[in-house]
């Protein structure tokens, strides 16, 4: 016995089966109530779709040849673009926004780094000494200034 219809009998209904396959399908249909029921439903669904197509064919078109002719021959060859405002594609606006955000956040987080000269990754020994000595000098000056500006004193114990 042939197995159930795998395609709901569409090929059978559209008469696309070979004579041998059709004979087998008919033999199966005589024995199988389930496939008969499925075939009936498929036939009705297709009939309703065909009729829906005919019903849609009765919907009148809103415009006709005159509208197409005007667009083909009229002065406004591209009427929709004639006075349309310039639009930036969304990909471009996202890219621009992200770049602006990155720039602002970089400046906000590292305000000094942007102003100070960068130190080269590879330094000569003389340059390294100069850098270290300059840093030490700055450190000493800062410590002495802070000491002078705000001297720390240990409060004397009261009484006694």
């Amino acid at each position: 016995m042939k197995q159930h219809f795998s395609d709901d009998g569409l090929a059978f209904l559209e008469k696309r089966l070979t004579p041998e396959a059709r004979a087998q399908a008919e033999a199966h249909l005589r024995q199988c109530a389930e496939c008969r029921a499925q075939l009936g439903e498929t036939r009705r669904a297709i009939a309703a779709l065909n009729e829906a197509g005919r019903a849609l064919g009765r919907v009148p078109m809103r415009s006709g040849w005159a509208a197409v002719r005007q667009r083909l021959l009229g002065p406004d060859v591209f009427p929709r673009r004639a006075h349309a405002p310039m639009r930036v594609p969304w990909q471009a606006s996202v890219t621009i926004s992200m770049a602006a955000l990155a720039l602002v956040s970089n400046l906000a987080l590292n305000p000094v780094r942007a102003a100070t000269p960068t130190v080269p990754l590879i330094q000569t020994p003389a340059a390294m000494i100069a850098t270290v000595s300059d840093a030490a000098t700055v450190q000493v000056v800062r410590v002495s200034q802070s000491t002078l500006a705000a001297p720390t004193r240990t409060p004397a114990p009261r009484g006694g």
């Binding site: 709901d8 669904a45 019903a55 849609l56 078109m61 083909l72």
Partner: protein
């Protein structure tokens, strides 16, 4: 013998040479089918009208590039129209979809509502239209081109850009899905007969 194919070829040649009457004849012959296909796919008469206009404006401007050795004129025209239907549907979906749709993972049916109302007013079962609209875009296109527009599988394959075998497979899958959905709603033989008769009026 002077058949419709030869007449069409004459119209195309004349329209390419600037004959407006020939261009109009091409429009009058094919615009109802293009409009009906767009209407079935988009579910809105205004959208279908706009797509039909766009497709003909493009096709008539590009008529000199049409190659009859590669496809039939109707296939070429439907390919142009279906591309515009997809764009229209995509744009409309992006414009109209509320954020709630994303949360519920449902397909928006706003663009289908007007046609659903139109069909329902003529006695068409709402379930059939809702079932067609619930199919994926590829399946909806295939089943519409097959049963509403009446194209062959080879033509559907050419229009949808998927080949005849894939077109047949899509139609088969769509029919199975439609049948299951409609059977689940427990329609009786009498219901079906009534619905189909209503469509014929």
């Amino acid at each position: 013998m002077y058949n419709s194919e030869e007449r069409l070829n004459e119209w195309i040649a004349a329209a390419c040479a600037g004959d407006e009457l020939a261009a109009e004849a091409i429009y009058r012959r094919f615009s109802p089918a293009v409009f009906r296909m767009a209407l079935a796919l988009l579910g809105d008469a205004d959208d279908a009208d706009e797509v039909t206009q766009d497709a003909f404006v493009y096709a008539l401007r590009a008529l000199a590039r049409f190659d009859p050795s590669r496809s039939a004129f109707q296939t070429w025209l439907f390919t142009i129209a279906i591309s515009r239907c997809r764009n229209k549907r995509r744009r409309k979906w992006l414009n109209t979809v509320p954020l709630a749709w994303f949360a519920r993972l449902e397909r928006p049916a706003a663009d289908a509502r007007s046609m659903e109302d139109w069909l329902t007013a003529r006695g068409v079962q709402r379930e059939l239209w809702a079932a067609v609209q619930s199919l994926s875009p590829n399946l909806r296109e295939a089943v519409t081109l097959r049963f509403v527009t009446g194209l062959t599988y080879a033509d559907i394959g050419a229009v949808a850009g998927c080949g005849a075998r894939a077109a047949e497979s899509r139609v088969r899958t769509a029919v199975v899905a439609l049948r299951k959905r409609l059977m689940a709603q427990g329609r009786t033989e009498a219901d079906w007969r009534e619905a189909i008769e209503a469509l014929r009026q």
